[in-house]
Each structure stands twice: as C-alpha cells, then as structure tokens.
C-alpha cells in the first residue's frame, strides 16, 4: 500500500480525526511485518484530569488501538487487510505531559494465518531544549494486543 493511501485511510478514520490524531509514518521489516506511527497533538477536548490538564487514558488508548490495527492491516501479503481487535492491554507508565504531542508507535510482532500479535508504545518526542524523560526509551504507555485477520479489503 502506498504511503498516500495508508495516510488517507488513517486520516479519514472519523474517531481518530475527531480526536485530532493523524498519520506520521510507517514501514516494513525484512520479513514483511509492518510498523505504523501516529501522532495525537494536545487538545483541550482530550483532558481527562481537569485539575492537572493531563489527557484521558482513553484518548491514548484509542490512538494506540488505531496504530496497532493498521500495523496488522499492512503486514500480510495483500496491500491492506481488514481486521478486528480481539483484545488490547495498555499499561499507563506515566502521565502524558500537558501541551505536548503524544506519539503512538505500533509494530506487528507476529502474523499467523488468523491472528496478528502487536506491541506498541506511546511517548513524547524530546523537545529542542533537551528532555531526559522523553523519547522512545521513556514511554507514557505500552500496549500489547491481538487482532483477528478478516481478509483483504474488498
């Protein structure tokens, strides 16, 4: 699947667009498994903790679910497969920092005939002024999930 088509498919997901999330990048490993990265810019409508301005876990969960599903969708032989989430677990490692974008990275760790196994994490990009607690080594959340493969997109 071309970058533009995947980008359009992701960015036209109504709930992701309503949150303000969008496509950032994707790629494939040598064995065909794919990774997908999305971004969720900070927004007042995402706040789950009004006393601190920290965004709701559900907003991070949604973007991670989306990234995970897309990584499975483009890991098979077909350009794009439909799939459905079987289960998804999220561990909330630390609160997202208010006013900063949450990055959502997911990769398919194994595609069997029926199931896609996925892991991913949410994190902040290091800021220009240096931030020892950002970047991929300092996740906000980690996820593990399984997705049911439902065949190529008609």
């Amino acid at each position: 699947m071309t970058e533009i088509t995947l980008q359009l498919a992701i960015n036209h997901t109504p709930q992701l667009a309503a949150l303000g999330g969008h496509y950032v990048n994707h790629g494939h490993f040598e064995d065909g498994r794919a990774w997908v990265e999305l971004a969720l810019p900070y927004g007042a409508h995402l706040i789950g903790y009004p006393d601190t301005g920290v965004i709701a876990g559900g907003a991070i969960y949604t973007v991670m679910d989306n990234a995970c599903g897309m990584s499975v969708a483009i890991s098979g032989a077909a350009a794009f497969e439909i799939n459905g989430t079987i289960d998804l677990r999220i561990d909330y490692i630390k609160p997202a920092t208010p006013h900063r974008t949450v990055m959502a990275y997911a990769e398919c760790i194994k595609l069997t005939r029926r199931i896609g196994f996925v892991r991913g994490f949410a994190y902040h990009l290091p800021s220009d002024d240096g931030d020892g607690h950002a970047g991929r080594d300092h996740p906000i959340a980690v996820v593990n999930g399984t997705f049911m493969r439902q065949g190529p997109r008609p």
Partner: protein, 147 residues
Amino acid sequence: MTLLTTLEALAIDGAEMPLDALPYARHLQLHVRRTTAGLVLRMAYHAALIGSPIPPRLHGGTLGGLLEITSTLAVVLARGPVPEGASAFPKPVNITIDYLRAGGVHDVLAKADILRIGRSIANVRAVAWQEDESRVIASAHMNLLVG
C-alpha cells in the same frame, strides 16, 4: 462541587446527567445515571465515534475510553472522600479490553463491578452493551491505584 459529591447527589433511578465536567467524556458524549446496582454510563451515538466507515462500526478506542471512565467513576464513588490535597481521581495502572462483538450505530451502555478495593489497588471489571444487555460488546478489567 467535586466529582464525588456530584455522583453522590444523583438520585437512585433518577435522571441521567451529562458528564460535562470531564472534557474527554464530553467528547464521547457520556452521560451517567445511578441505579440500585451502581452507576450506568451511556455513550450517545454520534458519527464521530465511528472507526470503520463501511460498514459503520464504533471505534474500539471509544469503547475502551467508555469502559475506563465507567471503571474509574465506580471507584471514585465506592472509595468515598479522599484526604485534602489528594487527587480526586484514582490513578490508572492498566486496563485490558476484550472485544466480543462489533459496535453498531447505536448508543452504548456500560457498568462496572468492583472486585476489591484494597489499601493500594482497586480491581474492577466492566462491560458494555448496546440494545440488549445480555449481548456484551466489550469487556474490561482495570487496575487503579487508590492509595
């Protein structure tokens, strides 16, 4: 009014209240009512909840968000007043969602059962359904830090 006192003020089997105090809950268009069996949340169907347009299916993340807030509010109500200066919210540790059926273009209802509130951790189960309560569409188990 704190979140706790707002929930406590809901009449049992009375009218539902929009959860507008929480911006993300407002985004999902969540409403809460209190029953003899505990809190029941309703996520009003609207087009922005869709994840897959053809056929239209609710985004799994909206069900995750709904179940997380349902679990959290159940703990807020069950644990009662917190010491001054403590957060009104228990901290989420993790949540696992099982997806049993696709979510269609209807309202979603959700309720939570607290298995245990210990000194540190609350352990919660929650389920979501649409038109038929016996047909669960998503189920969650969540751990929250309460002390």
